[in-house]
């Protein structure tokens, strides 16, 4: 449904979030938890982007960052960037990438590079979500919403359902009291609840119903982009199917853009058009859903996919079982974060961290197994959703 022509709603560039670790005698800063490290992707209108990874890989933090519920350490996120701006950003990042290395070592940059950085800075100041003032941000919050994983702690236990759903409307002063009431009941109907339910407290509902209420609250302000943070992982399969269908229907009706965060790959496959795989805060692979599930490239993705149990007793497949645990993001292994568990590990992996390269159209991987980027323009025209990802691999604008 999401064509590549569809306008971009949210576009993230090298978003980073480091949480400081305090310790020692005077609890001074002794390190960083690299929760999110240079994550970049676009979400288009009416499109669902799946964000998958194991617990502690920073996918939830990434979702929070896009809504600016957490302040990022660096990087930018643009809300509905004009196409020409987006194109320009591509060029700039692609250009900067050529001397990222020197930039990382803090070496001196050629003047034209400085120019590029300053231009990036200006663009960020004009368009970036992360540079907005509080008032503008508050206005925008109506457009960007979130649905939480835990349906039990995400609704205030002391408020009536009607107040919970009406709260965003009140905050933004939408309509009169009566109009809000009407809106609330229509929202409830939309998510398949009975308008009578507005008179109840959250604790009187089952998990599925609470999740519906959460969705209704998110929809109240007619958002354009919703972060779905594991919306069904706390629910039973039958109820999960109900919720997923609601989400799909709403997307079809209102051309919503979803960022679908989940560790449940079969759900992601069912929901999303593009998938971003994260490991220890970094994007290891990004591809259209079909491409990723049919032909995963990164060993981690392969292991992940092969680990999914399939509800079919006869499909006994030989399975890649990863050894060991996910390392702590406080002290990630050097080089490729995955090399400690990788079945196809090479000497280089523990030294150099592989760049994100587009090895097949729209299919971006960070792995030393695939050293050569896909270039021959003869094969297919590069879709412009592919272009940025190639351009964005390892650039970092120090100005931001």
């Amino acid at each position: 449904m999401a064509t590549s022509e569809a306008p971009i709603v949210i576009s993230a560039w090298n978003v980073r979030k480091f949480f400081p670790i305090h310790g020692g005698l005077f609890s001074s800063k002794i390190g960083d938890v690299r929760a999110v490290d240079r994550v970049s992707f676009d979400v288009r209108e009416g499109e669902t982007v799946g964000l998958v990874g194991e617990s502690g890989c920073g996918k939830t933090t990434a979702g929070r960052l896009l809504l600016r519920l957490i302040e990022p350490s660096s990087g930018q996120a643009y809300y509905r960037p004009p196409p020409e701006v987006h194109a320009r950003l591509n060029q700039l990042y692609a250009y900067i990438r050529t001397f990222t290395a020197t930039a990382d070592q803090g070496g001196t940059l050629p003047p034209e590079a400085r120019a590029a950085f300053t231009e990036l800075d200006q663009l960020a100041n004009r368009y970036s979500l992360f540079r907005m003032g509080p008032r503008a941000m508050r206005e925008l919050r109506g457009k960007l919403q979130i649905v939480f994983q835990d349906p039990f702690s995400s609704l205030s236990p002391r408020m009536l359902v009607r107040d919970i759903i009406a709260e965003p409307l009140e905050i933004h002063g939408v309509g009169t009291r009566a109009e809000r009431r009407r809106r609330v009941s229509e929202l409830l109907r939309e998510v398949g609840l009975n308008p009578e339910h507005e008179w109840r407290f959250p604790h009187e509902f089952s998990g599925g119903q609470r999740q519906r209420i959460g969705i209704a609250r998110a929809l109240a302000l007619r958002p354009e982009f919703i972060v779905l943070d594991e919306p069904t992982s706390a629910l039973d399969v039958s109820v999960q199917a109900q919720i997923l269908n609601i989400l799909r229907r709403l997307q079809a009706e209102q051309r919503l853009a979803y960022l679908f965060i989940s560790h449940h790959l079969s759900v992601v496959r069912a929901m999303s058009q593009r998938v971003v795989v994260m490991y220890l805060g970094r994007v290891v692979e990004q591809a259209p859903t079909e491409a990723l599930f049919q032909r995963p490239l990164h060993p981690y993705t392969q292991a992940l996919l092969s680990a999914i149990p399939i509800p079919d007793p006869d499909l006994k497949r030989e399975r890649i079982v990863l050894q060991g645990d996910v390392p702590s993001p406080a002290a990630p292994p050097p080089g490729c974060h995955f090399h400690t568990r990788c079945p196809a590990v090479m000497p280089v992996c523990s030294k150099v961290s592989p760049p994100l390269l587009e090895v097949r159209p729209g299919h971006v991987v960070a792995c030393h197994l695939y050293p050569t980027p896909y270039t021959s323009a003869a094969l297919e025209p590069i879709t412009d959703q592919a272009l940025p990802s190639s351009a964005r691999a390892e650039a970092d604008a120090p100005a931001s």
Binding site: G23, G24, L25, F26, S27
Partner: protein
């Protein structure tokens, strides 16, 4: 985090608290009228003659708990009038200078903090209730007086702490394990009643009860061997230094020096009466001294346990429903071990933390208890000095308050370190 790191950090953390407490006392102290400050620093007569410090009523020989009950009838505190003529005179100014009361406030604060931490807490005023009750304390430094009385209080505190732990933990655990069974009801009643019975009421009842029981049999509590029973009190003995109320008829409570004199025991290696008596091999005296602090300790423990029991019980109830207790059970661990080892250990942690939190209240009860039982501890000193007729003694009040606070802060530190030892999550987390 390493253990020592934790301990050091925790220890460093108490410094601001101590300074803060001293600052609060300083604020209150600075709010006092000037002549009270002067008196607090050196309760010397000169201040009187130069500043016309004049209690309205003379309660020189007042002893609120003396037999010949010639009690002071004046309720209002000594109103102090400072004729400007006198207070303008150079001597008075000179006093103010000596106290640095003419300096800017921050200077005064610094001096005050310095004095507080170096135990320069002023002198016992001549015109205060303390002086009236214990004339021999007149004009001696507060720190000295307190130092004399500290062992009484510490001894009592330790004993009652012991009793508290011995009662609260087993009873709380039992009432959790046998929920809503007789023992639980018993502990419930105990905690509620202990909560609702103020120490002064309970204590007085106990005292009277003891006297009533003892009197007919002329028990030892009354006929303390060093008292001339029935005869009028001989002043020197009562007012001998260190202070004593041992010869207060009817109430033999209160350890007192004459006991030692009477028993020819002079040296006090530890300062704790019970222990010293034992060290001296005087078993009778040891028993006597122990019995004297036993009842007060019980009363204090009763009040504190009341607050503690429910905590222990509830925490135990929660722990018993936790997963790891279930794990132990599912592994075939005998029930006794489950309760005693797995659940009990965690409820012990809770008990210790709560005890640390309630320590302030626990020590706060001491003035009352010691007053009721006439134990010459810091508490009684404070109680007397806070008695407004004939006069408050702010030197003693502030001094003992600071001391109590220091004790409490130290106790909390100990509790936290102990807790860190017991719970690896604090230590290593």
């Amino acid at each position: 985090m390493q253990m020592w790191t934790y301990v050091v950090r925790r220890a460093l953390l108490i410094a601001p608290v101590l300074i803060g407490v001293v600052t609060i006392t300083f604020v209150l102290f600075a709010a006092l009228p000037i002549q009270y400050q002067l008196l607090a620093h050196f309760g010397s007569p000169t201040v009187k003659q130069h500043c016309g410090y004049q209690p309205q009523c003379s309660c020189a020989t007042l002893n609120p708990t003396s037999v010949n009950g010639n009690s002071c009838t004046c309720i209002s505190p000594p109103t102090v009038t400072i004729p400007t003529g006198i207070c303008a005179n150079p001597v008075f100014q000179e006093y103010k200078n000596r106290l640095g009361l003419n300096q800017p406030i921050e200077e005064q604060w610094l001096t005050y903090v310095y004095h507080s931490f170096t135990f320069q807490w002023g002198t016992v005023s001549n015109y205060s209730t303390v002086a009236a009750v214990y004339p021999q304390l007149k004009g001696i430094p507060v720190a000295t007086a307190i130092a004399w009385e500290l062992p009484y209080t510490v001894e009592l505190a330790l004993l009652s702490l012991l009793i508290i732990l011995v009662i609260a933990i087993p009873l709380g655990n039992a009432s959790a394990v046998y929920r809503n069974r007789p023992i639980d009801q018993f502990s419930r009643i105990m905690s509620f009643s202990g909560y609702a019975l103020p120490a002064f009421l309970l204590g007085s009842l106990v005292v009277m009860g003891v006297v009533l029981v003892m009197l007919p049999h002329t028990g030892f509590l009354v006929k303390t061997p060093w008292c001339h029973q029935g005869e009028p009190i001989d002043e020197e003995l009562t007012y001998s230094f260190p202070p004593t109320t041992a010869c207060y008829p009817g109430l033999g409570f209160g350890n007192s020096y004459p006991a030692w004199v009477a028993n020819g025991v002079q040296s006090r290696p530890t300062g704790f009466f019970t222990i010293d008596a034992a060290l001296h091999g005087n078993s009778w005296l040891a028993l006597d001294s122990f019995l004297r602090i036993l009842l007060p300790a019980l009363v204090i423990a009763y009040g504190t346990v009341a607050g503690l029991l429910r905590f222990v019980r509830n925490s135990m109830l929660e722990v018993m429903n936790l997963d790891y207790v279930r794990t132990a059970r599912s592994g075939g661990v005998p029930e006794a071990t489950v309760v005693g080892r797995h659940a009990g250990r965690n409820s012990l942690n809770v008990t210790i933390t709560v005890l640390g939190l309630t320590f302030a209240g626990f020590l706060g009860g001491f003035p009352i208890i010691e007053d009721v039982f006439h134990l010459n501890g810091i508490g009684e000193l404070l109680a007397i000095s806070a008695n407004p007729n004939p006069g408050l003694d702010f030197a003693v009040i502030f001094g003992s308050t600071i001391l109590f606070t220091f004790l409490i802060v130290t106790a909390n530190l100990i509790v936290d370190v102990l807790y860190a030892f017991l719970d690896p999550r604090v230590r290593l987390g």
